[in-house]
Amino acid sequence: MADSPVVTVHDRPNSYIGRSVPRPNVQRLLHGRGTFTDDIKLPRMVHAAYLRSPFAHADIKSINADAAKAAPGVAGVFTGKEIAELCEPYVGVLTHLEGMRSPPQYPMAIDRARWQGEPVVAVVAETRAQAEDAVELVEVDWAELPAACDMSAALDADAPVIHEEYGNNLCWERIVDEGDVDAAFDQAAVVVEDEFTFGRHTGVTLEPRSIISSWDPSEEQLTVYMSTQGPHMLQAIFAKHFGLEEHRVRVICKDVGGAFGIKVHTYGDEIATAALTMLLKRPVKFIPDRMESFTADIHARHHTIKARMAVAGDGKILAIDFDDLTGIGPYSMYPRSSGIEINQVLNLTGGPYTIENYRARGRVVFQNKPLMCQYRAVGHPIATAMQEALVDHAAQALGMDVVEIRARNLIPDDAYPTKSVTGMLFDKLSHHAAKDKLLGMVDYAGLRADQETARESGIYRGIGFACMIEVTSPSPMFYGVGGAPISAQDGVTLRLDAKGNLIVASGVTEQGQGAEAVLSQVAATAVGVTPDKIKIITGDTEITPYGGGTWASRGTGIAGEAAAQAGHALRDQILEVAGIMLQSEPRKLDIRDNAVVDTDTGNERISLAEVGRVVYYRADTLPKDYQSELIATRHHVPKKFPFAFTNGIHCSHVEVDVDTGMVKLLNYWVVEDCGTVINPLLVEEQVRGGVIQGIGGALYEECLYSDEGQLLNGNLADYLVPMAAEMPDIEVGHVTSPNSDSELGAKGAGEGGTGGAPAAILNAVNDALLPLGARLTVNPMTPERVLRALGKTE
């Protein structure tokens, strides 16, 4: 409609952008009326349980399932070979990660198991308990093999080779070399070096991964209820590997009990569960229990890094040089690959700062442990902790304040758009404004004074800062370019119903982060309705626009923009038909609070309910040469930049009990810039939840393994997650640099908390211990490790 004045979501009256509106879908969750996948029962449904490899590396010499097949309630017992007959194997490499290799992977082990926890035999029975009973009756004749568990030793010449055809255990290596690193180190006033270790940890979604697969052989239709972040991605994968057309696969995602990147991969037990329904022609439910989840879910983060930084006398960072090694299990995960985490470390380290000389090597190795892959804030906690610990180390070497050294190196706020030394394009960031905002929230001088006083009485407090960048809202340059069936675009359909309500459908999914709230607020604003008039539909490949789903903090930046554009289109449609009804020019009309009004006076002319009534029931009253439309779909994909980078700064205040090694979290502050904030309440709790997850990695969480590759703490009593009693209150501030690639201007906010917290806490602990000459470069910082750094235990 050319004659309608140009409006954006930012100049709408009665805007819901930037307002802390409660989430529209939270009531059912508060009343115990959510529908998580395990809450669903289908007729004739049976339950799967998997016998999993008890060894990290072992040949399967034979499987005898006779007793299991005869056990009470058992509907079927199937081996990896039988499942493989239905399902094409998959290969988890991305072509743009040049040189990466990984062999075809089958849903379940065939002939050889390569990690403790790999599914080996599927048992299906009337109840989960009966399936577990029968699993105990399956006899497997194992021949244990030497295992390559330790990632550092996996490249040794005498290490057992997991895939013999490759000759060694190297999956991928990438080298970055920019500027003149050697010359920079030669010129440096100080060079600081550290060796970092980040513990392997895992996502621990409170709701385990969950799936119900249902095959209708009469229509050759596979319906999968699944707790997932990417319904369309899974639809494509099920279709491809079972040889089905995509429209014969429907993925339905009801309420999701946390995901964090755990539920966006191809898990063998889930693919096998889809095969089981085809074999049995009955719905099959599979919910891994907590202990299974610890060896069957992806792990993340295990890195050892040797790093050094060259710094001039005035504090300017001259160069960074590091060598990063990570172990990813025996395969690269499909379809995202297990190379992205280290790739992010190589891309993002040093990102907040102006650095011209940069050298890094990243090596990804196969090992006999669970697969590692993308988990919330992929690579960011590693890159940020390494970079920020080196910055603090350099400040100490120079005798410079830790805030001052950052101020001297942060990219100036007026330098944008710009590009990092590793080629990352930054649209608009605000490191200095964020730092200044943070210093307005934190009484830094007061904390330093308190630190001095406390030390006199033997109390050791520390202050740690972390500056960071975050990848959000990726373009196809992230995965699509590498050949993965992962859509970077997303769509939103808006439909006005006959009563003037707005039905919103989108390809993104909700797992509690508030995607549906954001869609509701943007759509309400763009169209001109109140949020109570909106119904949101997500999580069903059959009825939502095609989209990538929810990962990499993309829901708001991408689907939010699609909602804005769809809103404009629907608004134009409504005003067009309203103009005809009212014999008025559409440009003189507006929609406010569920009614068409005169733009100038704001006086109501006709309600949206009346527009709907006429359009749907009394079209006979409209001109015969006119056809109205009250539905609009728009898609959005980032075009100007590969990623919508955001920035943030964290400050952690801790007290270390130097006799017990316990770290007490006193206070925490974050300032983040995620562009246009749609809902501050949601953004702030995303940041807080993210920080707490980062604290998990910094202080508690680690998958502990024996030398033989046996997980030692695979339960929630021994694997420690952050609980309420130890967590600090967190104060969040905002700086807003809108995304120039969209009208809405929003970027993502889901991962910055997790990306920054380990760095801030590491620096705070080291700041506390500074007068005692102790320094930690390991996560998690357990009491044992703190005491060891202090020389108080062996």
């Binding site: 709790e685 920080v691 309420a724």
Partner: protein, 164 residues
């Protein structure tokens, strides 16, 4: 391990959310599976099955318990209250409203257990401070929020109840 078909079922008769129910179940069935599978009260969730996460917290004879660490047969003759019953009675309507306005629930999987646990604290000590609240809910794992909004919501509810 005895064969499951050789074990006679046990009859569990209990008052659940005010309704008298009776089912014959395997002795090994725990309370939360009984509620979810037999009674289709799916508001109580299963997060770990070893008593750590708190997602299955329900009220039995007036006190909160882990639904995964109590057998269904042990609830024979008991009064059981789940999130569904607690919601319908209106006992925690104020707490639920504060959870909503403060965004104290994200994915909602821990939420029923968290509300059950908070309800017990609020009934005993509505004036509990933040440290006490944090300790009281320290057996309920929430992976999404930073706990702060939950603490805020409980604290606010307690304050408002104290004023009444």
């Amino acid at each position: 391990m005895p064969d499951s078909i050789d074990i006679p079922p046990v009859v569990v008769t209990a008052t659940v959310n005010g309704e008298r129910v009776s089912r014959a179940v395997e002795p090994r069935m725990n309370l939360v599976d009984f509620l979810r599978e037999e009674l289709e009260l799916t508001g109580s969730h299963i997060g770990c099955e070893h008593g750590v996460c708190g997602a299955c917290t329900v009220r039995v004879d007036g006190t909160i318990v882990r639904g995964c660490l109590m057998l269904a047969v042990q609830a024979d003759g008991a009064q059981v209250l789940t999130i569904e019953g607690l919601s319908e009675s209106g006992e925690i309507a104020d707490l639920q409203e504060n959870f909503k306005t403060r965004n104290a629930a994200q994915c909602g999987f821990c939420t029923p257990g968290m509300l059950m646990t908070a309800a017990e604290l609020l009934a005993e000590n509505p004036g509990a401070g933040r440290t006490e609240i944090r300790e009281h809910i320290s057996g309920n794992f929430c992976r999404c929020t930073g706990y702060q909004a939950i603490v805020d919501a409980i604290e606010e509810t307690g304050k408002n109840r104290g004023e009444k």
